[in-house]
């Protein structure tokens, strides 16, 4: 072999090293797949910094088992690891020393933040930075606020799911689709909210024995990103009507003393803002709902026009009551623009918005001085497959 050929041969062999591209290789067995994380406040230090606790839930694949294998030999399907520190990134690195695996966050589904953390001014916005900045984090991570300790939520033991974080994830998705809860907030949306200084709401979960209840809403003040209050039950439902474009919940009303449940099929919401003057802004919120009669006690015929009209009227009144209550609380008491009136001003009345934006829900607070009117129209479209199930009875 000539010398030149030998040099070439050596050169090609060296090149294959680059081609293999295994500099970043991590075997899949060595990756710890984090599916959920929880952030708790440990203490507020005297110098104003915070000691935080990050808990991550890693999936233990052998505990999951395959359908054939059954329940995987009774092994737990997850592993929770907590570490504390000031910087979440460092905490995360510290966590790697506690486990035999490399934490891998690209499949992170859910981030639970404790109420204690978000009630401190500015802290929430700061800690979200890592989750937005780090390339490993996906923008679809869902965020929830937890009443009490967030890491406890990662430890609940539901009967039907093996990994608590995945349970919470599907719970949120289902509740949003079926029970008229608030839509889960993604970290990508949160970045937009943080940047715009707009006030917003994030779904809140409550720890109830073996289950998680997912139905409240934590209300945030956009300027400091601190949680100012939480809306529960009726108020949260009212908020859903005011902010969500589609709410597939149900609504229960009393017609002539008999209970009727209307299943909502579609909810359309429109906001019209007419700014006359800085202190005289008219806001008209139109909510239009379509629904079907889902369940009814009593014996009046649902095929009668007058009866349907009555149901519609009652649904309208009920929604109006709920939304007005929420609106009053948000506008007069908390003075935060979660409904998005400011957005409408920006979109439709840009020049006017520029004159008020610095005093919108801060400073002069023109928002709380505006007149918001809610107008609800309801339409019952279908009554189900039967008119009534009994003909004689109460009256």
């Amino acid at each position: 072999m000539s010398k030149k050929k030998l040099v070439f041969l050596l050169y090609y062999c060296l090149l294959t090293l680059v081609l293999a591209g295994c500099w970043d290789r991590v075997e899949i067995e060595n990756r710890g797949f984090a599916v959920g994380s929880a952030i708790d406040l440990v203490e507020k230090k005297a110098d104003g910094s915070y000691e935080l606790m990050l808990t991550s839930q890693f999936v233990v694949p052998s505990g999951l088992g395959s359908p054939v294998q059954g329940r995987g030999g009774g092994q737990k399907a997850y592993l929770n690891i907590s570490a504390t520190g000031e910087s979440l990134f460092q905490v995360n690195r510290e966590m790697a020393t506690l486990t035999s695996q490399v934490p891998f966050y690209q499949h992170l589904k859910i981030l639970i933040v404790s109420e204690d953390v978000v009630k401190e001014p500015n802290l929430f916005g700061n800690i979200m930075d890592l989750f937005i900045r780090d390339h490993e984090m996906r923008r679809g991570i869902r965020i929830v606020i937890a009443e009490g300790e967030a890491r406890k939520i990662l430890d609940i033991k539901p009967d039907n799911e093996k990994v608590p974080a995945l349970y919470l994830d599907s719970l949120m998705e289902n509740n949003y689709k079926n029970a008229g809860s608030l839509k889960p907030v993604h970290i990508g949306e949160l970045q937009e909210l943080l940047l715009s200084e707009r006030s917003y709401s994030i779904p809140e979960v409550h720890f109830a024995d073996k289950f998680i209840q997912y139905k409240g809403a934590a209300v945030f003040y956009g300027v400091t990103n601190e949680m100012v209050d939480s809306l529960m039950d009726e108020e949260a439902k009212g908020l859903a009507f005011l902010t969500e474009t589609s709410t597939d919940g149900s609504i229960k009303v009393n017609v002539n003393g008999e209970m009727v449940t209307v299943e909502l099929k579609s909810v359309d919401r429109g906001i019209q803002v007419t700014p006359k003057d800085k202190t005289d802004i008219d806001v008209a919120i139109d909510i239009h709902v379509n629904g079907n009669v889902a369940e009814r006690f009593g014996k009046a015929s649902v095929r009668m026009d007058s009866y349907i009209k009555k149901v519609e009227k009652d649904v309208e009144d009920k929604i109006e009551k709920m939304t007005t209550q929420t609106k009053d609380k948000l506008q007069k008491e908390l003075k935060v623009d979660v409904i998005g009136v400011g957005d409408k001003l920006y979109q439709k009345h840009y020049t006017f918005w520029n004159t008020v934006k610095d005093d919108w829900d801060k400073g002069e607070n023109y928002y709380s001085q505006s007149k918001i009117n809610i107008n609800v129209t309801a339409k019952v479209q279908m009554v189900g497959s039967s008119d009534k199930v009994k003909t004689t009875g109460d009256d």
Partner: protein, 367 residues
């Protein structure tokens, strides 16, 4: 070693058409939505891209028209006849230099992005080297083959962009486009300035028109090819704006990659769409670097006695050094600004000079 030789080193007019967007679309669009969103209100920036796009379509037509007036003549030979040999040599070197720095810059940027998103541990130097080696390998072969590679990659790039758009519909909000037309003139001018940087690479037309089989069609084809660029840019820009809104777009380093990261293929069996998008986008960046390096080699071939392979051996290490020279992100951005300014200015300068000379010459010969 034996090389496969194509019958002739000429290209069809369609290949020229595809070569234009292949060269121009590259790293610019990755950050373009951010730069434009910064300077404009809501989604007004599409107007800036549109205006710049129309200007560049006209510009592409003029360049191709100029080059096709001298059919089958290389840039150096028609430039020599217009502005004398020494000036033509200087022009060729200056234009070759723009392809040279563009290659170095693009190589550096793609390595940085690849490190950020894909290779956490691999050094940038190694990523850049392996990328450059592939580019050099492509150029070492047939020139016409390179154009065919463009033809092959380009539809895939369009397809993946449209696919991202399709999946992004779920995250889309039309409200993000309101209000309309509220940007002031200075905002538009700034946005136009930054978007013009994403249109560098037209200089290839000055050189490659000479190897087109039917040069008469070249101006039309160049203009059509150029038109694809703003259309794709506006599509991507509006997509980012619709999903992220103006504020978030202005704060994301590479909005389109984040967009690929945000979308989820329904069904949940495939969560990391960004990796596919990224791999395909590297094809587009490969096209950019291959074309701009090849045009440099092509230009220098015409003025020196060196062979293509020899030139390549000299240029490749230099490109690597220039690309690796910036130490941090700030210097890379500065290099990028220099590359863009220089690329646009030198191309305009050379074209305008030659067009004027050519018009004067024709007047004289008519008289």
């Amino acid at each position: 070693m034996k090389w496969f030789e194509y019958g002739d080193e000429t290209i069809s007019d369609k290949e020229l058409l595809i070569a234009v967007p292949s060269t121009i679309i590259g790293v610019g669009i990755l950050s373009l939505p951010r730069e434009i969103a910064k300077n404009t209100v809501s989604a007004d920036g599409w107007l800036s891209i549109f205006i710049v796009g129309v200007l560049f379509i006209g510009f592409a037509w003029i360049i191709a028209k100029l080059a096709s007036t001298y059919p089958h003549q290389s840039f150096f030979s028609y430039a020599s006849s217009l502005v004398t040999r020494p000036i033509a040599t200087v022009l060729t070197i200056l234009l070759a230099l723009q392809g040279f720095v563009l290659t170095a810059f693009v190589m550096r940027v793609i390595s940085d992005i690849a490190k950020e998103y894909l290779f956490d541990q691999t050094p940038v130097e190694v990523i850049a080297l392996s990328f450059l080696l592939v580019v050099v390998y492509a150029i070492a072969g047939s020139r016409a083959g390179l154009f065919r590679l463009n033809m092959m990659f380009f539809p895939i790039i369009i397809f993946i962009t449209v696919l991202v758009g399709g999946f992004a519909v779920a995250w889309f909000s039309v409200d993000n486009y309101l209000p309309v037309f509220k940007t002031d003139l200075s905002g538009h001018l700034k946005a136009m300035q930054t978007s013009s940087f994403s249109f560098t690479g037209l200089a290839i037309l000055l050189f490659y028109t000479s190897i087109v089989r039917k040069p008469k069609k070249a101006p039309k084809m160049a203009a059509i090819g150029m038109a694809i660029v703003p259309v794709l840019y506006i599509f991507i820009y509006l997509l980012c704006l619709g999903v992220f809104g103006n504020l978030a777009t202005a704060n994301l380093n590479y909005p389109i990659i984040e967009l690929a990261k945000e979308i989820e293929v329904p069904g949940g069996f495939f969560e990391r769409f960004d990796s596919i998008f990224f791999v395909i986008w590297i094809m587009s960046i490969f096209n950019t670097t291959a074309m701009s390096l090849d045009v440099t080699v092509f230009a220098l071939e015409s003025i020196s006695k060196l062979k293509k392979i020899q030139l390549l051996y000299i240029l490749a290490p230099l490109i690597y050094l220039v690309g690796m020279f910036p130490q941090d992100l700030i210097t890379v951005v500065q290099l990028g600004e220099f590359v863009s300014y220089y690329g646009v200015l030198i191309t305009i300068f050379a074209t305008v000079l030659l067009v004027i000379m050519s018009v004067i010459k024709r007047r004289r010969s008519n008289v």
